[in-house]
């Protein structure tokens, strides 16, 4: 069920990217998409009442595995957040340069390339 919410979240972002004309809103749509995927990854490793996946001395491994959440998706999400940060920084930088050149954020007015 919660996965479906993630997908709806994803679709909201995709809708923003596809429909909005303001480039800042397109960037926001991409951010929403990225976060939806991050949320999805985190949900994959989640389990109700789970403990942090850090094993300490004296824990039995079999007991630990039954209770801990899956650490791998958390590592993936960390990486993907960092990648997302880089992409968004570049995107916003390009938006600023576009605004300097065209004097507008409206994507329909940036039409030098066609064919």
């Amino acid at each position: 069920m919660i996965y479906i919410l993630c997908l709806i979240f994803f679709m909201v972002g995709l809708y923003g990217v596809l429909v909005k004309k303001n480039i800042i809103k397109i960037v926001l749509g991409l951010i929403i998409m990225e976060y939806a995927v991050n949320l999805f990854l985190i949900m994959l490793g989640y389990r109700e009442g789970g403990v942090a996946p850090i094993i300490s001395e004296g824990d039995s491994i079999t007991e630990f595995i039954k209770h801990s959440v899956d650490p791998l998706p958390q590592a993936l999400v960390l990486t993907s957040i960092v990648i997302g940060l880089g992409v968004i920084a570049l995107m916003v930088a390009i938006c600023i340069r576009l605004y300097e050149k065209y004097g507008t954020f409206d994507i329909t007015e940036m039409r030098r390339l066609k064919g």
């Binding site: 994803f10 995709l14 990217v17 480039i23 397109i26 991409l30 998409m33 990225e34 995927v37 999805f40 990854l41 994959l44 791998l72 998706p73 993936l76 990486t79 993907s80 990648i83 880089g86 992409v87 570049l90 995107m91 390009i94 938006c95 340069r97 576009l98 050149k101 065209y102 940036m110 030098r112 390339l113 064919g115």
Partner: protein, 496 residues
């Protein structure tokens, strides 16, 4: 010593050393950039015929991240690094028009590290990380000129590329959710044991969409004709020559053939996508008057040939597809370098403005003639052989419609390149180009190099596997074998 990680480490180190040291020495980026790519070319020739697995941090396969070198990776590595060397050589003079060589080389090497990483990675998420490294560097390089068109193209490419990456990441998440592993070999093993389920099918759809967008297959091609012409010429040649192949075709083929294992439906999807790109790409190219934009549309069409050949699923079809892949990277990079040379000398890319510059720029004209004949499929150039194989394979596989489409697209390609040759190089010299000069030697050298490659690459087809002397340059057959073996990939990797 194990050379596999060096393919990523060397360009990555270069990318960070260049900005550190080149504030003091102006010549430093040129020298180091070219040395790094030259070293990579030598390394990639040294690994021809070899295979191996490298476990990062010495964690073994299913737990740790592995890098895998096999026939298919070698094929891609060789073409990536050869084209990269030609491009950096060309950049020495060409990039003097732009402001910052230091940033250019740094981004270039980052992109190279990303691409080499993608073709070597044996882990889904690691592949995604390298794919993003290469993509982010290429977004920045497309917008390198920082003028209206470049920024617009870069933004478009960035948005579509990020959407593609997000789809791929979602697909990776789906795969992990239903398999519980990210190692390609282990995923493949689990799928062959437990069969498909709906989550995996959804993931496959996401991957076809994401990787298809990176490869610019037809329904997903909108960004390519803007992005490739806007980049500086050596970058266009990298993007069209190898980036779409490493990030799009290689990943798609690796995932579909080696990880999930193909069936009729998937092959059909590949073939239809390939045929669509082939025909629509060339038709769109027909009406173009911008030199580089025309070439970019032809990239879409040629990628269609590659996907069609591989999608046939027969050994001959795959051979044709892969052969066309390396051929295309040679002649399309050459054509983009030619377009860059024309722009460097004349300052325009408009076909109608140019004319008759053949007598003024003989090297550019002759190399571009070679490349045009290769892409149009005129014997004895390399493009002819690969197209011929693809068409024969189509007929053999009982798909005459696709064969007819391939012939049709090939004729249109020929017509379109006759137009380029006529308007740019032949005809009468226009008044205003009377004092035109040939490009500097450092720019013509890589063009001549690539033109020679176009001529001699037909040799790769000869049955040289058993003759001893030339055994080492046989890079096609192992690659075909990797794809044909399909999901046996898993047992090899886990066994090593």
């Amino acid at each position: 010593m194990n050379m596999i990680p060096l393919f990523v480490a060397v360009p990555l180190a270069g990318a960070f050393i260049i900005p550190m040291l080149s504030r003091k020495f102006k010549w430093f980026p040129d020298v180091l950039g070219n040395l790094v790519t030259l070293a990579l070319v030598i390394m990639s020739f040294a690994v021809i015929g070899k295979s191996g697995v490298y476990s990062m941090g010495a964690w073994k396969a299913p737990i740790g991240i592995v890098m895998v070198l096999d026939g298919l990776s070698v094929l891609l590595l060789v073409s990536i690094n050869v084209i990269a060397f030609a491009s950096t050589l060309y950049s020495i003079k060409y990039m003097e028009q732009y402001t910052s060589k230091l940033r250019y080389y740094s981004l270039f090497l980052l992109m190279l590290a990303g691409m080499n990483g993608v073709v070597l990675s044996g882990d889904m998420f690691n592949l995604f990380v390298f794919l993003e490294i290469a993509s982010v560097a290429s977004y920045a390089l497309v917008g390198f000129g920082c003028e209206h068109e470049e920024l617009e193209a870069s933004f478009k490419y960035l948005v579509l590329g990020t959407v593609a990456s997000t789809f791929i990441l979602l697909g990776i998440g789906m795969t992990y959710g239903s398999i519980g592993s990210l190692n390609m070999a282990q995923i493949s093993e689990q799928i062959s044991q437990n069969g498909m389920n709906n989550a995996l099918l959804f993931a496959i759809a996401l991957f076809i969409m994401g990787f298809g967008l990176k490869a610019a297959l037809v329904p997903f091609h909108a960004w390519l004709p803007d992005a490739h012409p806007s980049a500086p010429a050596p970058i266009s040649s990298m993007l069209s020559g190898v980036l779409i192949k490493a990030l799009g075709i290689y990943t798609l083929v690796r995932f579909l053939f080696n990880v999930v294992g193909v069936d009729e439906r998937l092959l059909m999807i590949l073939m239809v996508l390939g045929a669509l790109s082939m025909v629509i790409g060339v038709m769109l190219a027909f009406g173009q008057w911008d030199f580089k934009r025309l070439l970019a549309y032809h990239s879409i069409s040629q990628v269609g040939y590659i996907i069609l050949g591989i999608g046939l699923g027969t050994p001959l079809g795959i051979l044709g597809g892969l052969f066309h892949l390396i051929n295309h990277s040679a002649f399309k990079s050459l054509l983009f370098l030619n377009a860059g040379a024309v722009e460097y000398s004349t300052g325009t890319r408009d076909l109608q403005e140019l004319g008759g510059i053949r007598e003024k720029m003989p090297v550019t004209a002759n190399t571009s003639l070679v490349a045009s004949m290769s892409i149009a499929g005129i014997p004895p150039f390399n493009g002819f052989w690969s197209k011929l194989i693809i068409i024969i394979a189509c007929v053999q596989a009982g798909r005459p419609v696709f064969a007819a489409l391939a012939v049709f697209a090939s004729i249109l390609t020929l017509a379109s390149f006759l137009k380029v040759q006529k308007y740019v190089f032949f005809e009468k010299l226009k008044e205003k180009w009377n004092d035109l000069r040939e490009v500097p030697a450092l720019m013509s050298l890589p063009m001549v190099l690539l033109a020679l490659l176009c001529i001699v690459m037909g040799v790769l087809l000869l049955p040289i596997g058993n003759t001893g002397v030339l055994e080492n340059i046989n890079i096609l057959e192992p690659a075909v074998k990797v794809i044909m073996d399909g999901t046996d990939y898993a047992s090899k990797i886990l066994g090593m």
